[in-house]
């Protein structure tokens, strides 16, 4: 219907500062869809509300991604069969799953859902391709996604007893005949109340006893079942949760225990604080954490209510410029704002696979953190000189499409440029700053890009074809390399 692309203008319109902040924190990169959606719904509150009910957003691109990874559709016994026959390895499943995850971040219109799925996947963290959990990893991801904007209590109920978790943290061999404390401990420390809550070793043992009975036939088909004969029967007590636990089927006790932990004030504090680390700053005030934990508790662990309390708090808007993109966020953001989109993953050189190694080269590989505590959420972890060097290099690689990926959709250069010429170099830098960073170019940036190109920023460019491929790459890479390019 002939709508004009935003980039056709010499000075493309940008979002308001608050819209930019909200979209930047709650997306993997502000592309044309995000700008258009934000505009069409009339403001950031409306945008966030709409995004927080992802099922109402048609997402053809995001939905199609699953079909690129047929391996991930395998039932657990089929996946194990492939490994046993040495057709595939657990690593292959993990690699596909990492690529699948990044592809969804890249193309999905449901960006808030993607961001929250990433957040919870990093809290209830299970690596990709891990031997004891890999056949169930995609199924676990579906659980996280289903509850990512729902109730934490319900997510916890399904995630903790999921076969992937049972395999990963050894609950699969935790029985009344021999307790394995691994999951019982991490449930308290990482997923709910946290260490400051002050549980002791007796609590840990009780926690593990409650979780007995969830069997997975690890390294043998990976069938999952509940075995009442394995369940510890008898009184249990964890941090004020007490239960006679008299039945062989302990699942109702597990559900009550997980509800108790999810609703615990210490869990509310811990979840609120971790959300702040992701979305506000490395050192959130007690005030915002308290406001969020109150919202969490009064809404019975509702994630959307907790997020609303966060964005409404004055600390949120005041936190602009305080969060640095992780290497994964960085690479995905650059690809999105540059207009690069994967369209498949069949080839080893597919763009959806290259992004796995691109983020790895900056220092973070999707689902490759080896420990159950997830990647650090603090920006300070990712604000180091060496990371800067690596990001600067990958930004030019992306701007120039130098890895030469297959299965990529990438706009023609002329379709990214203004339609009105002549322009000065400074105007073109401003144009790209608006498109890639969502803000006008500062004088420092205009002169900086001009300096990198060894030109004056008043250099006149008569037509689009006066801008060489090389010049365009250098210009865009240098814009992305500005400090603002690393902030979200």
């Amino acid at each position: 219907m002939g709508t004009t692309r935003r980039s056709a203008a010499v000075t493309p319109a940008t979002l308001s500062a608050t819209q930019q902040l909200v979209a930047s924190r709650f997306s993997f990169g502000i592309d044309e869809d995000v700008v258009a959606d934000m505009r069409s719904v009339g403001g950031w509150q409306q945008w966030l509300e709409r995004q927080m009910t992802p099922s109402r957003l048609v997402d053809t691109a995001g939905t199609s991604v699953a079909s690129w990874y047929p391996l991930l559709a395998d039932a657990p016994d089929a996946a194990w069969g492939r490994v046993k026959r040495q057709e595939k390895s657990a690593w292959d499943f993990g690699y596909d799953f990492a690529s699948y995850t990044l592809a969804r971040k890249l193309v999905s219109r449901r960006q808030v859902h993607e961001v929250m799925a990433d957040f919870w996947s990093n809290l209830l963290y299970i690596p990709a391709g891990e031997d004891r959990s890999f056949p169930w990893r995609r199924s676990f991801d579906d659980v996280i996604r289903r509850h990512a904007l729902g109730r934490f209590r319900m997510m916890l109920r399904e995630a903790v007893v999921h076969p992937a978790m049972s395999g990963w943290l050894n609950n699969s061999s935790n029985t009344k005949r021999g307790i394995n404390e691994n999951l019982g401990r991490e449930l308290l420390e990482l997923y709910t109340v946290g260490r400051p809550a002050g549980y002791d070793e007796a609590d840990v043992k009780s926690s593990a006893r409650i979780l007995t009975g969830f069997k997975v036939k690890v390294f043998d088909g990976y069938a999952a079942s509940y075995e009442p004969n394995d369940h510890y029967v008898g009184d249990v007590s964890v941090m004020g949760f007490k239960h006679p636990n008299a039945d062989a089927d302990g699942r109702p006790v597990v559900a009550a225990y997980l509800d108790y932990l999810a609703r615990h004030p210490a869990t509310a504090q811990r979840i609120a604080r971790r959300l702040c680390l992701r979305f506000v700053s490395d050192e959130p005030s007690d005030d915002i954490v308290t406001a969020m934990s109150q919202a969490y508790r009064s809404s019975d662990t509702d994630i959307r209510a907790t997020l609303r309390a966060m964005v409404r708090h004055p600390d949120f808007v005041a936190s602009a410029g305080q969060k640095v993109r992780t290497p994964i966020e960085d690479v995905v953001n650059c690809a999105r704002v540059l207009g690069m989109r994967p369209v498949g993953a069949g080839d080893d050189a597919a763009f959806a696979r290259h992004v796995v190694w691109m983020s790895s080269s900056v220092g973070q590989q999707q689902f490759d953190w080896p420990r159950p505590d997830g990647f650090p959420e603090t920006s300070s972890t990712w604000t180091s000189p060496a990371r800067m060097v690596r990001s600067w290099n990958i930004h030019y690689s992306l701007a120039g499409n130098w890895w030469g990926p297959k299965e990529i959709a990438i706009p023609r250069r002329v379709d990214l440029m203004p339609t009105t010429w002549p322009l000065t170099l400074g105007q073109l830098v401003d144009h790209q700053s608006r498109m890639l960073l969502g803000r006008p170019a500062t004088a420092t940036l205009r002169q900086g890009v001009a300096g990198a190109l060894n030109m004056s920023d008043s250099r006149k460019l008569d037509k689009a074809s006066d801008v060489s491929e090389w010049m365009w790459t250098l210009l865009r890479g240098t814009v992305l390399n500005s400090p603002e390019g690393l902030l979200r």
Binding site: V83, Q86, S89, A90, W91, D92, G94, Y95, G129, E130, D131, W168, L169, N170, S173, N174, T175, R177, I179, N180, E181, R185, E189, R195, D348, A349, V356, W357, S360, S361, G363, D368, W369, P370, R371, P376, T383, S384, P385, A386, R387, M388, V389, R390, W392, N393, Y396, W403, T442, Q447, G448, G451, A452, L453, N454, T478, N481, S482, P483, L487
Partner: protein, 425 residues
Amino acid sequence: MTTPRKGSGPVDDCGCDDYGVSRRSLLKAAGLAAMAGVTTSMFGDVLTSTVFGATEGNILVVVSLRGGADGLSMIVPHAESGYYSARPNTAIARDRLLKADSTFGLHPAFAPLEGMWAAGRVAGLQAVGLPVPNRSHFEAMELLEDADPGSSARIGWINRMIAGLASSPDVFDGIQIGSTVTPTSLVGPAPSLATGGFDDLLLPFTEDAKLAPQVSATLRSQYTAHGGPLGDAGINALALATRAGDVAGAVSAGPPSGVTYPEYSSLGKALGTTAGLIRAKVGVKAVAVDAGGWDHHVDLKQRVNDTIGDLAACLAAFFTDLGPEAGRVTVVTLSEFGRRLTENGSRGVDHGYGNAVLALGAGVAGGKYYSRWPTLGTGSQVDGDLAVTTDYRSVLMEILRARFPSLDLSTVFPGVTAAPLGFMR
């Protein structure tokens, strides 16, 4: 552009065991070594102030056994009936132990280090650990590596060590090789670096003599104008990249012929890079290396055999690799906690307390065991676990005192009085 290499088979250890550098990523993506990421932290303009420092000084290599190593499997207290009764499926029989004395013996998988042990270059320490039990991986690692419970400042002990050895420490004084996320031990005001290698820290267009300075000047002006932690990181990155070029050129690509690290071992790769760095004489003083895979909640017998075997083979290769430089290098292994005495329902062991430590190389009075052995008697146990009779900081102080005599240990480990075991010359 290299394309990712496909994996060959699911031979990796249980991922839950990998609390350090992921073996998986190395194992399966060996072709991508050049893409390994890096992080650094550094403050101020110290980077520009030094070229190569003291090139012949002593070096400490700290090998972190992530996940909580089972010290009772490493240095087996074979004279204790309690050990055998608590571990009906996983205890190591007396007659399989290496270098046994009347109390202890080494796990048979330590065979690659037998020669060094016989030559008096390896000492085994037992019942070492944190002063107070902590069975959380993450808290215990944090406490172990911060090592200053009296201070709320998050500064690691290696960072304090580096700061104590030079008025203006260089970024290559204290390095983590392997994982890209800076460990707590290195965090602090002295500059530090966490990297897989050195040839991937160069600025864009380094090879273009005309363009590189232009791009560099652009970055400098923008990051200077921006200020704050991100601005500082950018400015320091420019300096780091300049220095990295020198180091990358000096560190040889691989070990000399005749030195073989275990295939697909991330520890082996990191130690190989460490040896190259030391041989290049660029002035490193402390290196932190992760050896992941020690969280043996299941199947202790097989898994600890594999992890000890990897550790022993890597350390043996490392000292061979060092050649004449070995006279400057002391290695110590540390782990956040030991395991429970009693095996669990999965023929594994859960999180415990007292642990074993190995000290190897320069200055070590090796070939024997050192311990104020508390015994495994029920009256001596702490919550069912081996007690700690030697604070791990005392072990580190004993090493530092011998190898870095100019260091003021009261700044590295404030408030700790060393109780030496006598394992250093």
